[in-house]
């Protein structure tokens, strides 16, 4: 037997540290870095949590609510199985729902993500997003490359369920290369954040309240042509739907070879995390 020397103690400490900096998602224990959100830790570990308004590297937003996960309260778990068998506690443990993109990972969190209940709730949210805008995929040039659509497939959404809003929203085709079709905007603010945080510009903002909230362009005329936007800005490419488009690029990729013909949404979103596009325009 060896007495624990200094080196050994260090190792123990490190192991201790490692144990403390883990969370468990659907039974899988994964590490996280202090300050990291649940979704970033999950994506880095290859666990897909559905999301639309999140992009690793941009500040969190928390608007789409697709990344909702349950944090299970396990403070009463000692001897649980015995007491459960005796019927002293109910099968359903207490849990609270949080947005994985804004909630910091904390040591020992026990998280449920890929459950039928959460995915059903996520499907309803996706249906709300579809019925709130005009998502007529058959005539949308983003079809097959659209994350909203791909998430709908992932969640097995067959219909919009709710009465459609059929909003009338302004289309901005003033710019020579970039256009904005607000009918499909889901107000995720990815473009707003990308423009400020990555492009060093301030092209977009959200104006209005409630169902009247809409994306506006920060130029004197309110039109894209008078803004600083450029075709290669991250703000143009980060849009998860067909709201910000590059002109004369539509329908170039044959059906069968579009992003989500070839890949599932989880593969694409995990890849985006591993190879962030920021800085490599």
């Amino acid at each position: 037997m060896r007495r624990p020397g200094r080196a050994m103690m260090k190792t123990d400490n490190r192991q201790d540290q490692a144990v403390r900096n883990t969370i468990t998602i659907d039974g899988r224990e994964i590490p996280f870095q202090p300050g990291q959100t649940i979704i970033d830790a999950a994506l880095e570990a290859g666990i897909y949590i559905p999301h639309l308004c999140h992009r690793s590297g941009l500040s969190p937003h928390g608007s789409c609510r697709l990344c909702m996960v349950d944090i299970v309260d396990r403070t009463e778990t000692l001897g649980d199985s015995d007491r459960r068998r005796e019927g002293k506690i109910q099968e359903e443990t207490r849990s609270r729902s949080v947005a994985a993109c804004t909630m910091p990972a904390t040591a020992g969190q026990w998280i449920r993500n890929n459950t039928p209940e959460l995915n059903e709730a996520r499907k309803v949210i996706t249906q709300m997003l579809f019925t709130e805008g005009n998502h007529i995929c058959p005539s949308c040039e983003h079809s097959g490359n659209c994350t909203l659509q791909a998430v709908a497939y992932y969640l097995g959404m067959l219909d919009g369920h709710f009465p459609p809003f059929f909003p009338r929203r302004e289309l901005d085709a003033s710019h020579p290369t970039v256009m904005l079709d607000r009918d499909r905007c889901i107000l995720c603010e990815l473009c707003v954040r990308a423009s400020r945080e990555a492009d060093g510009k301030n092209v977009f903002a959200i104006a209005g309240r409630g169902t009247r909230a809409r994306l506006i362009v920060n130029s004197a005329s309110g039109m894209l042509v008078d803004s600083d936007i450029e075709m290669h800005d991250l703000a143009v490419h980060v849009c998860p739907v067909g709201a910000i488009l590059i002109k004369e690029q539509g329908y170039r990729v044959p059906i069968g070879q579009r992003t989500f013909d070839l890949h599932q949404v989880e593969e694409i979103d995990l890849r985006k995390t591993i190879l962030p596009e920021m800085g490599q325009k």
Partner: protein
């Protein structure tokens, strides 16, 4: 053996969903061993009788669409919204961004090459609705078969599920909205 009765109709549709159904090709023969068509563009039956399944392609754009849809709902045990138009209005719902009167004037009064401009007003003609609506805004819908159009494989899958009494489900690789 009594065969399952299926009625089909196209409301504000393009008949593309019906064409896609026919794209099942020779697989149709196996379906027709167990099913027969009631009112449908494929048959000469003028009104929908008592049916097991009603397939509705197209959204609701005029008053006649509403009557036909209600007839289908009344007579079909299972009513299925087939295709993007029946599900959310589809491409025809792009007209919802405009006033109906503006659409009619554009086509019948100011359209290029129009002679004797007038908006048709014969009582025989069904009046257009203010907007194009998905069918679930008018009647209860039991199942949705998405796609513009749904593929023949989707139709085949659906018929097999329904005829054999299975729960209808679409595998992810068959699911598409475009």
């Amino acid at each position: 053996m009594t065969r399952i009765r299926i009625a089909t109709t196209s409301l504000a549709g393009c008949f593309g969903c019906h064409m896609s159904l026919l794209d099942m090709d020779e697989r149709l023969v196996s379906i027709l061993e167990k099913a027969e068509f009631d009112r449908s563009p494929f048959t000469d039956i003028k009104h929908c009788g008592s049916c097991d399944i009603g397939l509705v392609e197209g959204g609701i754009c005029n008053e006649e669409n509403v009557h036909v849809l209600r007839e289908f709902r009344k007579n079909c045990k299972i009513l299925i919204a087939v295709g993007a138009c029946a599900i959310n209005g589809g491409v025809p719902a792009l007209r919802n961004s405009f006033q109906l009167r503006a659409c009619l004037e554009e086509v019948y009064l100011h359209g290029e090459g129009v002679e004797n401009p007038q908006i048709p007003n014969d009582a025989e003609l069904p009046l257009l609705l203010d907007k194009v609506y998905p069918i679930h805004e008018v009647v209860q819908v039991d199942f949705y078969l998405p796609g513009c159009p749904p593929s023949a494989d989707q139709f085949f899958r659906m018929f097999n599920d329904l005829i054999s009494g299975n729960e209808f489900s679409l595998p992810r690789k068959l699911l598409h909205f475009d």
